[in-house]
Symmetry: C2
Subunit: 201 residues, 2 copies
DNA sequence: CGCGACGTTGATTTGCCTCAACGATTGTGG
DNA sequence: CCACAATCGTTGAGGCAAATCAACGTCGCG
């Protein structure tokens, strides 16, 4: 991979990170130094169940799913992460204990990763990163809370319509099986829901 | 209310806030200055649907529920918050737009609140508070993620057992109707679930 | 004391799952 | 690049989990 490509990818990260709180030259330099680029093939894993999550990951291109597998062997999608999004098993990352989820590429992907010690170094030496990551988490928290509300109050059809409305880009590139798993329904039932919706117009 | 009582309450806040990152004298002084104590009666609201959420709230004693009401008029509990927990409609608090949830006291409560401008002042002048609140949100995020996983993968019975196991103190002081609303099931069905569980032993 | 919230039960209905089967895509290894 | 395999989307029959509606006794609070 050409070096200038990696530079371009880090520019994407920079644009994302400086949106809320613009970074200074020194901070940018550290940022570029501490994030490492990595390519991941389709079906490649960046985290297995039982692993300790060692990286905080920014997705440059491609798409990931984070999921758990239940006793019956079924996958349950907790989260998708495409370009310009963050993905990691926060629970394992901060506790440094083995986690219970998988993170797998749905499409070939390019990512930028930082390790826990390096992130802590950033937090300690450049307080601004505390604000930046605080806001990143806050946004994700608000998203999750809306999802919980949907889960406890809406029907499968309502959740599906909400999903394709809220994430049209994701909806068009993901197989319906993955969306069904995210919504907490079977793919067969999603198929029926889609049929009913098509019939309504 | 005696002043020394308010002081005791703020000590509770301080203990909570300095657990991860110990605070210095100057920071503690500001903390005590910017948080305001308030008493709330049972059934009292600290936030109505349509209001802009102006405060970040720390619960000293008592218990709150945060919920939304759907088109059919039914309540759906998003969150409980008892002693030593935080509650606020983050979405509205940060966007400064009207929110869609209620926050209501289930028990008579004492709270400590900080306004958005004062919190931003803290963030700007004492970077440590960014770390502190980042961690508070991270913990809540991890909790929420586990809840989503439960919602999309577990039965009502499993979710109930998990709830009383994970939050025994809450489970014993909340009416079952409120727990049912939190779990996303009807109170009638929760009653049946409890009967089945009792029968199992 | 009386009223409203609470917990429970039963009958019925509905939303969603399970299992099985099928063509249509898609991706991949040879 | 093709051929085969795997995944995907869909349909249908049957079953189960959970909602709905109605009714009732209890309890705590005002």
């Amino acid at each position: 991979m050409a070096l200038h490509e990696e530079a371009k990818h880090k520019e994407l990260l920079l644009a994302h990170m400086s949106a809320a709180f613009p970074l200074q030259e020194k901070e940018i330099k550290e940022l570029f130094l501490l994030f490492t680029e990595r390519k991941v093939k389709r079906r490649g894993f960046i985290l297995h169940q039982g692993d300790i999550c060692k990286h905080f990951t920014f997705v440059v291109s491609g798409c990931f799913k984070m999921y758990a597998i239940d006793q019956a062997g079924k996958e349950h999608n907790l989260e998708f992460a495409a370009e310009n999004e963050w993905v990691s098993d926060l629970s394992s990352f901060y506790s440094e204990k083995p986690g219970s989820v998988y993170i797998e590429a749905i499409e070939p992907a390019v990512i930028l990763q930082i390790t826990r010690p390096d992130l802590i170094y950033l937090y300690a030496n450049y307080p601004k990163f505390n604000s930046t990551f605080r806001i990143i988490i806050e946004r994700k928290y608000i998203e999750l809370q809306n999802r919980v509300l949907q889960n406890i109050s809406a029907t499968a059809e309502e959740r599906y319509v909400n999903f394709i409305t809220q994430y049209p880009a994701l909806a068009s590139r993901l197989p319906n099986t993955q969306i069904a798993s995210y919504l907490g329904i079977t793919s067969e039932f999603l198929s029926k829901v889609r049929k009913d919706l098509a019939h309504k117009r």
